[in-house]
């Protein structure tokens, strides 16, 4: 199993958010999680990425034969986990290009691979940016600073394509995107998909799933997955909302 979440319960500030959650993802699969506001979707994404604000009450997570809780945030990233943030953080003064260069090399170092030099990195970045319709001038700017909502999401996908993760978690990447930006972002994701990597896509709306076809769809309500099945569940949600799952 590539990612195995077993009986996971999590709380933050005395509030139980995830309750005995189970989820298995195999290599090469695309899973989508849909659920109403406050159901714990983003908490799940943050816990997977290692955010330290949460208290793990119970459960286990295995990722690529590692106990995920033995790895800190950066080790998880270096092992191939990537979280595309719902609200990417603006970091003025930290330039995009050296930041991404150092990120990719930290991963290569852990994998005992040779570090990528400046020139090769610049070429790689330029080609990936151009695939995503990102202006080269944007790469001279500070991380997410002064970016529009669409630019931020596009930049998350750029980072994802550079870091080429084994498991990408997209936390409401579609929110705040107009239809053209949504197409560019989802094209980026589809291009990256292979039989060796997996995706966990978190969304409110069926719209995103018109562009990225999931193999499995899960409905999350009140901290637990209440229904799992194929992409056809999306139509049910579209028709009746989340009410019937609660």
């Amino acid at each position: 199993m590539f990612l195995e979440i077993k009986d996971l319960s999590v709380k933050i500030e005395n509030k139980n958010i995830l309750k005995s959650l189970n989820l298995n993802i195999n290599k090469g699969e695309v899973h989508a999680i849909m659920g109403p506001n406050g159901s714990g979707k983003s908490t799940l994404a943050n816990v997977l990425a290692g955010k330290e604000d949460y208290e793990i009450l119970n459960g286990k997570i295995n990722f690529k034969d590692n106990d995920l809780f033995d790895l800190n945030i950066e080790e998880r990233a270096q092992e191939g986990m990537f979280l595309a943030f719902q609200y990417p953080v603006e970091i003025p003064g930290v330039n995009i290009t050296p930041f991404l260069h150092s990120a990719i090399n930290s991963k290569r170092k852990r994998m005992n691979e040779e570090e990528i030099d400046n020139l090769s990195f610049a070429k790689l970045l330029k080609s990936k940016a151009s695939d995503l319709g990102i202006n080269i001038d944007m790469l001279k700017r500070s991380v997410n600073t002064g970016f529009s909502g669409g630019e931020k999401k596009r930049y998350e996908i750029l980072q994802m394509s550079i870091l080429n993760p084994d498991l990408a978690i997209l936390d409401e990447t579609d929110s705040g995107l107009d239809i053209d930006a949504l197409k560019i972002v989802t094209d980026g994701v589809n291009k990256l998909k292979t039989n060796d990597n997996s995706f966990l896509i978190i969304t409110h709306y069926q719209k995103l799933l018109d562009y990225i076809k999931p193999d499995y769809l899960h409905v999350m309500v009140n901290g637990s997955i209440v229904k799992s099945g194929g992409p056809e569940i999306a139509a049910e949600i579209e028709k009746d909302g989340f009410q019937k799952f609660q």
């Binding site: 945030i73 003064g93 930290v94 990120a103």
Partner: protein
């Protein structure tokens, strides 16, 4: 030993002790020390320090041998070595360096912007034992680097300098304070900018833990002149930076900036004060601090706009990052505006490093320590990238790397 006994005992080594007017002034200062109740709450010069250590001191001064002034004519640049607060006289057609004279003393003592109850400035006036005067002659464009060296342990340097930029002149002045011995330097710089002159003044402070540096400056700007001061404090010993500017004629500008990097038990007290006394003048006061361990800092900023100073633009900003729960930074910006057509602002933000930004960077594979360091560097990125001298930028970067290497 009380102040009076200390003064009388060392009088023969103190400048101008033969001058009756100066002696009368000093008698008044002694009287202040003997009668002041040292009200810590309302006196900014007393915050975070044990004044007793500074008042009840053992006076020691060594007069240095002649020092060097190196002139590189091709680049209009000069290197000055100031030893124990003194430097040799020098004169050419562009600059003039000399010892301070009785007549200069009035420039220091009659200054009305510097607060009367600043005990450190008063101590400086009482025990004055060194100092020099630099004049940049009309319409010259000059670079000067001053290395301030103290030769022995336990010295008490009380130094007054007078810097005058004549009409149309421009001076790029770098002052380095990098002392490794156990001494105290109390320095007052009085800076005069004549019409259409400019001074870019950089102060690099990097003293060892037992060296105290108390530096006060007063600059006054005439028509169309600009004073830019940038302080980089990497010192491991106590540093006090109190800097006052007066914009006395139209279209003049003062820009007082500082960055300080504190760790261990170190303390730094900072103050900037700009007085707008004429129309169409601009000022900027920006201090940023990074505080680790149990370090402490204060920053008082003040913009005073006189009623004649219409069309003033005056900005203040204070920012601090606390890297430890035990570090503290007290900041107090003030505006006093007596004119009605002005643009003024002040702001202050102090807090721990942004945990969301740390999480974001770590989630891309960067270690926590690397993420912290990159965020500290980004916090002062604007100040660092605005340094236009490659040599200066290299010096500051090296010191920053040294500071960051201790951040855990």
């Amino acid at each position: 030993m009380n102040i009076q006994d200390n003064y009388l005992k060392n009088k023969k080594n103190i400048f101008f002790s033969e001058n009756k007017d100066i002696e009368t002034h000093r008698a008044k200062l002694i009287n202040i020390f003997e009668n002041d109740r040292f009200d810590k709450k309302n006196n900014e010069s007393l915050k975070n320090i044990n004044l007793k250590n500074f008042i009840d001191f053992k006076y020691k001064y060594l007069t240095p041998e002649e020092t060097s002034v190196i002139n590189n004519n091709q680049e209009n640049s000069y290197s000055i070595v100031s030893v124990n607060g003194q430097c040799s006289s020098f004169k050419d057609d562009k600059i003039e360096i000399s010892k301070i004279l009785d007549e200069d003393y009035n420039d220091f003592s009659e200054n009305n912007t510097i607060e009367k109850n600043d005990h450190f400035v008063n101590l400086n006036s009482l025990f004055l034992n060194s100092g020099f005067k630099i004049i940049i002659k009309k319409n010259n464009n000059i670079k000067i680097k001053i290395s301030n060296i103290i030769t022995d342990d336990d010295l008490t340097i009380f130094q007054k300098n007078n810097i005058i930029c004549e009409e149309g002149s421009s001076l790029n002045l770098i002052e380095e304070y990098e002392n490794k011995n156990n001494s105290t330097s109390n320095i007052l710089n009085v800076i005069k900018l004549e019409k259409s002159s400019q001074l870019n003044h950089f102060l690099i402070q990097d003293n060892s833990p037992n060296h105290n540096l108390i530096i006060t400056s007063h600059s006054s700007c005439k028509k169309d002149s600009t004073y830019i001061q940038k302080v980089y404090n990497f010192s491991e010993g106590y540093v006090r930076n109190f800097h006052y500017s007066e914009l006395t004629e139209t279209n003049s500008e003062a820009d007082l900036q500082g960055i300080f990097f504190l760790k261990d038990n170190n303390t730094s007290n900072n103050k900037t004060f700009v007085k707008h006394l004429a129309e169409d003048c601009k000022s900027n006061q920006v201090y940023k601090g990074i505080l680790n361990d149990r370090s402490k800092a204060t920053y008082f900023s003040n913009t005073h706009v006189d009623q004649v100073a219409q069309k003033t633009e005056g900005y203040q900003l204070s920012k601090g990052i606390l890297l430890s729960d035990n570090a503290s930074y007290f900041s107090k910006p003030e505006l006093k505006i007596y004119a009605d057509d002005v643009k003024c602002s002040h702001g202050s933000t102090i807090g721990p490093i942004d945990e969301n930004a740390i999480f974001y960077l770590r989630s891309r594979g960067m270690s926590k320590i690397a993420a912290t360091k990159i965020l500290i560097s980004s916090f002062i990125n604007e100040e660092l990238s605005s340094i236009d001298s490659e040599q200066m930028s290299e010096i500051i970067q090296k010191k920053l790397v040294r500071y960051l290497s201790k951040v855990k």
